[in-house]
Amino acid sequence: MKQPATDNDFINETLPIFISEAQEQIESFEQLLLQLEDAPQDRELLDALFRCAHTVKGSAGIFGLEAVVAFTHHVETLLDRLREGQVALTPELSTLLLQGNDEIRNLVNAAKDPGQDEDAVVAWNRDALVTRLQAASGSRPASAAAKADTPADTAEAASPTQRWQLNVRFGADTFRNGMDPGAILGYLRGLGTVSELQCASAAVPPLDRIDPESCHLHFTFALDTAASQGEIEAAFTFVRDDCELQITPPTRALDKQGAQRAAPATSKPAAADDNRYIRVHADRLDAVINLLGELVIAGAGAALMARQTKQRGLIEANLQMARLIEEIRNGTLQLRMVPIGETFSRFRRVVRDTASELGKDVALDITGGETEMDKSVVERIADPLMHLVRNALDHGLEPPAERIAAGKPAQGRLTLSARHESGVIAIHIEDDGRGIHRQKVLQRAWDRGLVERGVVPPDKDILNLIFEAGFSTAEKVTNLSGRGVGMDVVRRNIQALRGSVTLHSVEGQGSRIEIRLPLTLAIIDGFLIGVGNSRFIFPLDAVVEVIESRANTAAGEPDARGRSVVELRGQMLPVVNLRTLYALESAEPERHSVVVLQAGGCRFGVRVDQLLGQHQTVIKPLGHLFGSLRGMSGSSILGNGEVALIFDVNALGQLAADAPGRVAAATVPAVPAVTPVATKNQNHAVTAEGSRS
């Protein structure tokens, strides 16, 4: 296909697209290769792997990125040998391919800055890699870089020419995808001799019915060539997903492998229609979600006014609108959801490389990869997760000898799992390694002055010491972990996402890290309650039930911080009185209710005055002024313009569960009086009028 002379503007606009798509191919390459290690004969994986490299090489060629093309060509050659069965996939070869892929990644990233000069060491390393790739392919090292579109240069003797029969029906979108069947046929002519070429012209619809930009061309022909089936198929790489291709190998050499290869070649690629995607700029999506948030608030305002008019028709109409808005809300938030499996898959490589570096044998299990999370949360959780995985590999799991001595199987097990759990995502990292050695941790804490020497805190707190800054019991500081800058940063990053992290461990058996993250950062279903004149919201997912209490039925007097206990179906339920906790000034009403909440495995009750029902809650961040406020995770604007504060149920639960005296008064600041600011698209909830302590 002849390209018109490239315009600088064209390149500048489309280069980022190439980079992003190439990066996807590169990631895919790594995943496929790791899968291939477990199933080295899988033809589909081999073909898919080849296509990744081939696509990157082809696209890079269009942009004139010679370095990428030249290097990728060597990887592609090796992959071709691999899928033809001429070389076997050994762990060493696999590692070499992974390194090759890494180099392709570096080259693609370097292409973002075309002007940059290259480091001599980097270039030398690349040449060394090329030599190894060529050695593995069995070809003589070539002094010049190979050109983009010639078939792989090979040191093998030329195979004899064979006649192949081809039958190809190009798909309707061929032209729209920028492909020209004429050019593909021309390429095939470059591989050999095309004869008996027939075009099924009768299949072309007449002028009044045809869509001129759809392709209706169907060809049959014979090809005499020395090329391999793989090389012939390579001609169709860019139309592969959209055409029906049948390649009949030469009749005399129809061996079993040939028949196997013919089968995948004739199958129409399945699920081509299921994977229709549109590329959308993330900022546009954020803008839409913002507007949607405003819509929810405006809708609530309208509904409120409608109720006041007491006109049935109007109220019904508003209810209908609210339903529709909720559906749009759910749909739009879905757009931002990505499965966490993509992030998890990246860890396969890390585990593989790190385990072998450390001389440990580790199997990685991933479950719940299809669990979806908000895209921005996934991006921000990746690094903390990586650190925790590395930690487990480094400190948690023992070397094989030690494991056997302890009566465990030599292969260690690391499990990454994710699942939805009452409005949050729970991510677990579990290993069957040494577990946390309490005494060591305690000793270190004493040494570092984190805990008063001789004091033995409860077990849960000993484990949490690991998250303190500057702490590390590692005897050796490896370049992976142990420098003591890790765990506290991990916890901080997770908390910045309004999540929480806890550690569970049994010495000698293993450890489990549990991370909880909110499902979304934007809009949630809330349960609105009132205490005096103040309004608060609980995430609906955390609400278990509501108990209507008659006055003074609490069993036991509330303590100074307003905590008491209530009996619920034979079990004791700690109850927090918000009025006392936050020093809200207003008269205690005759009737009150207790909302039972569930947080992190424990249940507790919150005493409130009024139950105000379900409320679609658009979460607005609290301003900087409230940065240190614990117990609140955001604010929301009600239909009447008032502001309601959204509870951080976990933090509240901790307050309910903590023994008196442990928590200093300073960590529970009083809720400042809030004044709604009457501007339309406010990003911050309020300005504080003054705080009461």
Partner: protein, 110 residues
Amino acid sequence: MNPAHPRTLPAELTIYTVAELHPQWQRWLADTGDNATATPQADDRCTLDAADVEQADAAGVQLLLSLSAALEAQGRGLHLHAPSAALLAACEALGLADWAARLQATEETA
């Protein structure tokens, strides 16, 4: 339309131009259709002057195929007058050299 002044194919007969050409050709087909029935001695083949074609690709050749099919359905044929080298090359690349030759043939040898 007078067969003495045949329709001329544009310089570019490619994916970039087929969307524009399609409605034009449809109108031409409708017009010449009416005229053909009006004049008994009219040439029963429609002539396209193809000397000016400088670029042709599979999409363009496909549209010609489509036009030819439509004319056949009307009982008429397509005649390509003086097809350029570029058009012939494109036809040949797609295995349609014989078809192009047939369309090129003048009345006597048809």
